[in-house]
């Protein structure tokens, strides 16, 4: 159980990486932009990949009526996400420590993992909803109004994951270092649960003999 608890502590602590490194990155490149424009998404706000990328993306997007990219105070997510992640790290480390001293069982580890997975899925859902709003909720007075072949207004929603061609731009959306820390951390907590289960099974067997 000690090994499992240590894995739980380390795994949940790895989520702290999200406070340092970006979670996600959206990059817009075109032959006319030899240095692509990009947004790094952190749990507490957005930053340009290069210093003035946010301003320059907003400058381009205003032609098609997209809103300016949100400042931290414009979205509740940027104040809530850090609390959620911070809370989950706190609980994870606490569960690990309690497990270490045999105060709780491995079920708590699985519980933490399932809760974190649900929160993650909700986060992705929320992120996708924001992308959808950002890419489709356009200013009716937009300077350029582009439509699909069927006459419906064109959507500029960047992909949630992967590559998509948007007008002359190639949009790439991929996780960054913060997300990899989270992924690794969650894997470790899953392993922690498994190790705890194995330990429990082994000690049960020991009792029965």
């Amino acid at each position: 159980m000690k090994k499992a608890s240590l894995a739980m502590i380390v795994g949940s602590a790895l989520l702290m990486g999200l406070f340092v490194f970006p979670l996600w990155n959206i990059e817009l490149g075109a032959p006319q932009y030899p240095e692509p424009l990009g947004i790094n998404i952190y749990i507490n706000g957005l930053q340009g990949q290069s210093e003035f990328d946010i301003q320059n993306i907003d400058g381009l997007n205003h032609y098609i009526g997209m809103k300016t990219l949100p400042k931290p105070e414009d979205m509740w997510e940027f104040s809530v996400f850090p609390l959620v992640i911070g809370g989950m790290v706190g609980f994870g480390v606490l569960f690990g420590a309690l497990g270490y001293f045999d105060k709780i069982s491995y079920h708590w580890f699985f519980g933490w993992f399932i809760l974190m997975t649900i929160l993650g899925v909700l986060g992705m859902y929320d992120f996708n909803a924001w992308l959808l709003d950002y890419g489709t909720n356009l200013d009716p007075k937009a300077i350029m109004k582009l439509v699909n072949p069927d006459g419906t207004p064109m959507s500029y929603k960047p992909p949630l994951l992967g590559h998509q061609k948007m007008l002359n731009f190639d949009a790439y959306s991929y996780p960054r270092l913060g997300a990899y820390f989270m992924f690794l951390g969650m894997c470790l907590t899953l392993i922690a649960g498994y190790l705890g289960w194995k330990y429990k099974k082994a000690s049960n067997l020991n009792y029965s003999t």
Binding site: E51, F52, Q55, N56, G59, Y63, I143, M144
Partner: protein, 645 residues
């Protein structure tokens, strides 16, 4: 499997034949050597002086593509240089506003005798001036006028740690200037050799001292390097001191001189309180990158030095025959004096010169300055068979390349053995030539650029006047190969070049808006406003794709002096906005990202007058416009301004 085998045989055959053809005599064409494919960049920057254009142009090597014209001494409507309120002070002189000059010799700053790519200096020949251009912004940052000088020709060459940039006068004149008979020139006129110190960190220039030499013509110059660091060499002509029909009267002496000046010795003399302060009147103009503004200060005094007061500091080296170019090889050992009326080149030895000075082997004196014996300082003569040698540059392999004006050719010869290795014609009448770094201890001897005075039949004719032509020779092999012709702007006299990697990585892409300290800048469009102060109206305006803030202005009256202070709020590489308004008696402005510039408009007619962006900045550039309403002088309409109302 068999198929793959066949394919391999075919493809290897193909490769084999390709290889043999690329190694063959016709394998590398001249076109391949200068072709820089779309998306690729050149290997070298070349900075060519514009002569009578007053400016400096930037080209790529080997492509010969022109990248930019940098305004230096001339007003430049393309950017508003010399028209905007911020840059007008740069062209101030003791003669008032002089919006033109004859720009001759650029030289890139050096550290330990190697190009460091921080600044490039260039001289104004007509109204004597020296300018310093920043090589991260490619903008003129400083211009200093040179008093007591006339025809600032043997300039602007720099010492190997950029301690000094020199400004030697081509024409001797009365010092100080006075009303006197011209035919009393001989013995009365003086030639000022001015040593301008360069502050090591920011490059700011200041006249350290002026050496008042005999009244010869000081044609070109070159600093020593290596062992000869601390010396400067100037060619002279008209040692006859003739004042009329110079082509005959100043070409009588078989030998003129190269003046060797030990500037370290004079510097020491000056630092110990030597020299005479003389009243003078000259402008010192500095452009500040933070405020985006130039200021002009008039200076009132200059320190002069009589060469006779510093024994052992100045000597004359006899050199045949009206020498023009004065060039020092990368080791600093050889001083080449090209007698423009001679067929041969004269090479002096620095070591022999020092030995002759130590042994005091003098051959008389001129105005008290010792003349060394020709034979005692001569290192060798290049017997070339050409006519009219002018200028010499060097590669890193011990070869020198000399232009011959009259016989129109470049001659390659070996330092030390003085044998001619190769010669190639130029088209036509070549003046200077340039090898990147050829003016330093570390040349990059891959190309030589010859700058020709006459173009004639090289391009499609454009009336009686043609732009001048430059030619690129590949000098990587034993023999030179002419690989390209390209037209140049103005009359390039000399050029400086350096590897692209020295400048490209540090080239500025934007000015940061948060570093903009211009007193009339607006850091946010919400600060845009209009203020009246008597009959002056100050408009604080911002630009961003694709609108001005404000774009409607009312309350301006006939007779007002309207200042448009435009701040460009873009922070994106190469996105300037322009500004112009109808009836302006000046040029448009081109405002770089993060920069502020000011233009004056004095409306003379009642009406509603448009202004617009002159730089095609975006898909809606054409809509980037606004109006100023101009009311009669006695109108009581209040100042007002708006955007989007």
């Amino acid at each position: 499997m068999a198929l793959i085998g066949v394919a391999m045989i075919i493809s290897s055959c193909g490769n084999g034949s390709n290889k043999s053809s690329s190694n063959g005599a016709l394998g590398s064409s001249a076109a391949e050597k200068v072709y820089v494919a779309p998306g690729q960049q050149d290997e070298f920057y070349a900075f060519l002086s514009g002569g009578y254009s007053g400016n400096l142009t930037v080209y790529g090597l080997p492509s010969g593509r022109m990248f930019k014209e940098i305004p230096v001494f001339s007003q430049f409507p393309t950017s508003g240089y010399g028209y905007s309120e911020e840059t007008k002070p740069m062209l101030n002189t003791s003669f008032g506003f002089v919006p033109w000059d004859d720009a001759h010799h650029p030289d890139i700053s050096q550290t330990n005798g190697e190009l460091d790519g921080r600044w490039i200096f260039i001289n104004g020949n007509n109204t004597p001036r020296v300018a310093r251009i920043n090589l991260s912004t490619f903008e003129t940052e400083e211009i200093i006028e040179v008093p007591n000088s006339a025809g600032n020709h043997s300039s602007s060459f720099i010492t190997e740690n950029t301690e000094y940039v020199v400004a030697g006068t081509r024409f001797s004149v009365p010092v100080p200037q006075k009303d006197m008979p011209i035919n009393e020139y001989k013995g009365n006129f003086k030639g000022a050799l001015t040593f301008i110190s360069v502050e090591p960190e920011h490059g700011n220039m200041d006249i350290k001292f002026q050496l008042l030499m005999p009244g010869f013509n000081y044609d070109l110059s070159h600093p020593g390097r290596g062992d000869s660091h601390g010396w400067f060499f100037f060619t002279t002509y008209n040692t006859e001191e003739a004042n009329s029909l110079m082509e005959v009267n100043s070409s009588q002496n078989d030998k003129d001189f190269i003046a060797a000046v030990n500037w370290k010795k004079i510097e020491e003399y000056v630092n110990n309180g030597g020299g005479t302060k003389m009243p003078a009147d000259y402008a010192h103009n500095v452009y500040d990158e933070g405020t985006h503004m130039g200021t002009s200060t008039m200076k009132k005094e200059v320190l002069t030095v009589d060469p006779l007061k510093v024994p052992g500091a100045v000597f004359f080296l006899p050199t045949p025959k009206s020498p023009h170019g004065c060039d020092v090889d990368p080791t600093g050992q050889y001083i080449i004096g090209n007698g423009k009326l001679s067929a041969d080149l004269t090479v002096h030895s620095f070591d022999k010169m020092i030995a002759a000075i130590e042994d005091e082997k003098f051959d008389g004196e001129a105005y008290g300055i010792p003349i060394l014996k020709f034979e005692d300082v001569l290192a060798g003569t290049v017997k070339s068979g050409g006519l009219g040698p002018l200028h010499t540059e060097f590669d890193e392999k011990g070869n020198a390349y000399t232009t011959f004006f009259i016989s129109s050719e470049v001659v390659k010869w070996k330092l030390g053995t003085w044998e001619v290795v190769d010669r190639k014609p130029t088209f036509y009448s070549v003046g200077h030539l340039m090898i990147p770094g050829g003016n330093s201890r570390k040349p990059f001897g891959k190309y030589v650029v010859a700058m020709n005075k006459i173009t004639k039949d090289r391009y499609l004719p454009t009336g009686p006047e043609m732009e001048h032509s430059a030619q690129i020779y590949d000098i990587s092999g034993e023999k030179m190969e002419l690989i390209y012709d390209f037209p140049t702007h103005g009359e390039p006299h000399y050029a400086a070049g350096c590897p692209a990697e020295l400048l490209a990585p540090k080239s500025k892409k934007i000015y940061r808006l948060d570093d903009n300290k211009h007193p009339y800048a607006v850091s946010n469009p919400s600060e845009a406003r209009v203020e009246r102060n008597g009959n002056e109206v100050h408009i604080y305006m911002s630009t961003i794709r694709s609108h001005f803030t404000p774009d409607n202005i009312e309350g301006v009256k006939v007779g007002d002096k309207v200042y448009f202070h435009i701040t460009n709020h873009e922070q994106d590489f190469d996105v300037p906005h322009g500004f112009s308004i109808i009836g302006q008696n000046t040029s448009e402005l081109l405002v770089m990202p993060g920069q502020t510039k000011t233009s004056i408009w004095e409306p003379k007619k009642v009406g509603v007058w448009p202004f617009y962006c002159t730089d095609f900045c975006s898909a809606l550039h054409q809509e980037m416009q606004g109006y100023v309403r101009v009311s009669p002088a006695n109108s009581d309409i209040e100042l007002s301004w708006s955007l989007g109302e």
